[in-house]
């Protein structure tokens, strides 16, 4: 193996990443292990957040503001959007800070750096799984039937993972040099929920603007979760555009991270 200065854009070394795969598994395992250590409610937090948000949103937006869902009972409608949204927003805030919180690893050992932000995202998949289980319970409670479309859920989950990883890679790399990211991300997340059809159905947006919503990668994911789990109307255009955006974000994130990672140990 030869070490020399690297220049310009370079693809991720997948062979190397594969060689180190066990470490990725360990990092994910560590994140899962320590997340709820020394908490009273432990893993319950994973489902408590979207559940409480669902109750409050139902009260504020459905009862007070009169927002209607497009078919299913509003609490179900809200929860099906909140589950992927909570995953995405937590994953984004964790992964964008991941390099800085793991600065010791970055400056003292070598391994593929992409594992740090990607591991942070992957560790949250378990939370998403738990909240989907809770959605199942809610569907039984509301007697809302599950259809064959549910088989499509993994596709939309992949969309959520790719967009969280893509943005996580970009923001964590920027965070190494510019700690502005630490302040920008919570704000982005706070505002993002309004730019994603989590609280309201997409038909509230004028028809000619609906496709634009697809530029938000999470819009397609939320629509997709509702379509495949609750059987709401399908919006292929928005969903495809969103999926396309998340793939582009992910690939761009990989390249950008690769380009910036050379300076991590010097700057962090």
């Amino acid at each position: 193996m030869t070490i020399r200065p690297r220049k310009g854009w370079q693809p991720v070394d997948f062979a190397e990443a594969f060689h180190y795969r066990e470490l990725l598994a360990f990092l994910v395992w560590r994140d899962i292990k320590i997340r709820y250590r020394q908490t009273l409610l432990g893993g319950l937090w994973a489902v408590l957040q979207p559940l409480i948000a669902m109750v409050i949103f139902t009260f504020v937006f459905n009862r007070l503001a009169g927002v209607k869902s497009d078919g299913p009972p509003y609490p179900l409608f809200a929860f099906a959007g909140l589950a992927p949204w909570t995953f995405f927003s937590t994953a984004l805030s964790q992964s964008s800070n991941s390099l800085v919180t793991n600065h010791q690893l970055v400056s003292k050992v070598y391994f593929p750096r992409i594992f740090i932000p990607i591991g942070a995202v992957a560790a949250l998949l378990m939370d998403l799984f738990f909240s989907l289980c809770l959605l199942g319970v809610l569907m039984i409670y509301y007697r809302w039937p599950l259809t064959i479309h549910a088989l499509l859920v993994p596709v939309f989950m992949l969309g959520a993972v790719l967009s969280a990883c893509g943005l996580g890679l970009i923001l964590s790399a920027l965070n190494v040099s510019f700690r502005d990211v630490k302040y920008a991300v919570p704000f982005m997340i706070q505002m993002g929920i309004f730019l994603t059809p989590v609280i309201y159905p997409i038909r509230y947006i004028p028809a000619r603007w609906q496709v634009l919503m697809g530029l938000n990668p999470m819009a397609g994911v939320v629509l997709g979760f509702r379509y495949s789990l609750l059987g709401t109307s399908v919006m292929w255009q928005v969903m495809t555009l969103s999926m396309f955006v998340s793939v582009v974000l992910f690939i761009f994130g990989l390249f950008m991270f690769r380009r910036m990672e050379r300076r991590f140990a010097d700057v962090i």
């Binding site: 030869t2 020399r4 560590r30 250590r37 010791q104 003292k108 050992v109 190494v176 700690r179 050379r262």
Partner: protein, 428 residues
């Protein structure tokens, strides 16, 4: 046979300009992009727009390492030893040159990297092993050996945050000692306060090197370098000053130390320090060390000797609210002692501005022999204005602190104390 490690003209340049800018970069970058979107970033009339000061931490470093070589890399603070190890370990890219590696490498720049306080000893063995490049199967195979070496059997399922510092260090070293690479790169980790354990680690290292393994070893412990290594490379100001027999290398190094008594051994210019926390301005300028009678500290301090630290720094605006902190960390990064000017009861509330010198006078530094890394920081108002992680190192030398001809050998610090037998009642 081709050498296992070929180092060719390695250079590493650090840009100081970037560090300076960092406080404002994002805003600057945006405003630059908007105000003059078509101008290049760094040129205006062909001249660099921002003066980027840079320095070479390493330059033209070349040497070969044959399989089975055990090489000690020695040099003063700032000579480039750690940078060289970081480049070889692939933690940071070289600016120029190349390195060819022909074998599985593991590097140990710090003991216990990645240890998580909330995880148990057992869990940390696995995590740390994986971080150091061991496979899961390998860790499982060596697990019992690691636990036995560390002597922590009873506490395997206790989170390491409840460990004593000695246990923590033993466990961390035990994992590292069981790495089985073809090339092992070790930085300073052997200068542990606990001499018994240090001997055990040296023994393990010896075993490793006799097993035909290639070892690159950075240390300030000259005895260890002479004992362990056949060959020594001396770095001076980022260049190879000597490469040969380890005894000659140590000799050469000690000569350069004593040859510069009044030059700079006791004083460190901090304006080029790279170990700064980002986002801060380089306000800390210089740190100097003196002992009794204001004699400069050259090689180290005896246990219990006076330590006077002079810190030069700049206050950009007039203020009366500023503080200097000085943290003594042992080589495992554990804080042993913090000296902070806010603990000083006799401070005037006067405003100061510009270049200042603050003196911290420690009448008796009662730390155990070993090397301590100093973290230095400046607070203005309640804000951290500058911070350098590894500003300087202080070596405490073995000496007869208690005046009995016996050198203290265990623990973290020394404390004057007395022993006497109680007069038995019937003796009266």
């Amino acid at each position: 046979m081709a050498p296992i490690l070929e180092i060719r003209n390695i250079g590493k340049q650090y840009k100081l300009g970037r560090a300076f800018q960092r406080t404002e970069t994002f805003r600057e970058m945006l405003s630059r992009a908007f105000s003059s979107p078509f101008k290049g970033r760094s040129t205006e009339n062909g001249q660099p727009k921002i003066k980027e000061e840079s320095f070479w931490a390493l330059r033209d470093v070349s040497f070969d390492v044959a399989e089975g070589d055990v090489i000690g890399i020695i040099g003063r603070n700032g000579a480039g030893k750690s940078t060289l190890l970081k480049v070889i370990s692939r933690i940071t890219d070289p600016t120029e040159g190349s390195i060819v590696l022909r074998g599985r490498m593991a590097s140990l720049l710090e003991v216990g990297t990645g240890f998580h306080p909330e995880l148990t000893g057992r869990e940390n063995i696995f995590l740390n092993g994986a971080i150091l490049g061991m496979r899961k199967a390998e860790i499982i195979a060596k697990f019992d050996e690691i636990v036995a070496f560390a002597e922590v059997e009873k506490f395997l399922d206790t989170p390491v945050k409840h460990y004593s510092s000695g246990m923590y260090v033993r466990l961390a070293f035990a994992v590292a000692a069981h790495l089985n690479p073809e090339i092992l790169i070790v930085d300073e980790v052997l200068a542990v306060g606990d001499i018994a354990f240090q001997k055990k680690c040296l023994g393990k290292m010896n075993e490793v090197s006799r097993g035909g393994r290639t070892v690159l070893f950075v240390s300030h412990n000259m005895a260890a370098v002479e004992n362990l290594c056949k060959r020594g490379v001396v770095l001076e100001k980022g260049r190879v000053a000597f490469d040969g027999n380890s005894k000659d290398a140590v000799h050469r190094y000690l000569n350069t130390l004593s040859g510069s008594q009044n030059a700079s051994g006791h004083a460190i210019d901090l304006s080029g320090a790279t170990d700064r926390r980002s986002m801060v301005e380089p306000l800390l300028k210089r740190i100097e060390f003196y002992t009794e009678g204001d004699r400069p500290v050259i090689e180290g301090l005896q246990i219990g000797a006076r330590l006077k630290v002079r810190v030069q720094f700049e206050l950009p605006n007039p203020t009366s609210s500023f503080n200097i902190g000085l943290g003594f960390n042992n080589i495992f990064g554990q804080r042993i002692f913090t000296a902070h000017s806010q603990f000083e009861p006799h401070r005037s509330g006067q405003e100061h501005c510009g270049l200042q010198t603050f003196i911290c006078d420690i009448p008796s530094l009662t730390l155990m022999p070993g090397e301590y890394t100093l973290r230095l920081w400046l607070d203005i108002g309640n804000q951290e204005a500058d911070l350098i992680n590894d500003a300087a190192r202080v070596t405490v030398l073995e000496s007869d602190y208690y005046g009995t001809g016996k050198v203290p050998w265990n623990g973290t610090f020394v404390l004057k104390h007395h022993w006497y037998l109680e007069q038995a009642a019937d003796a009266q």
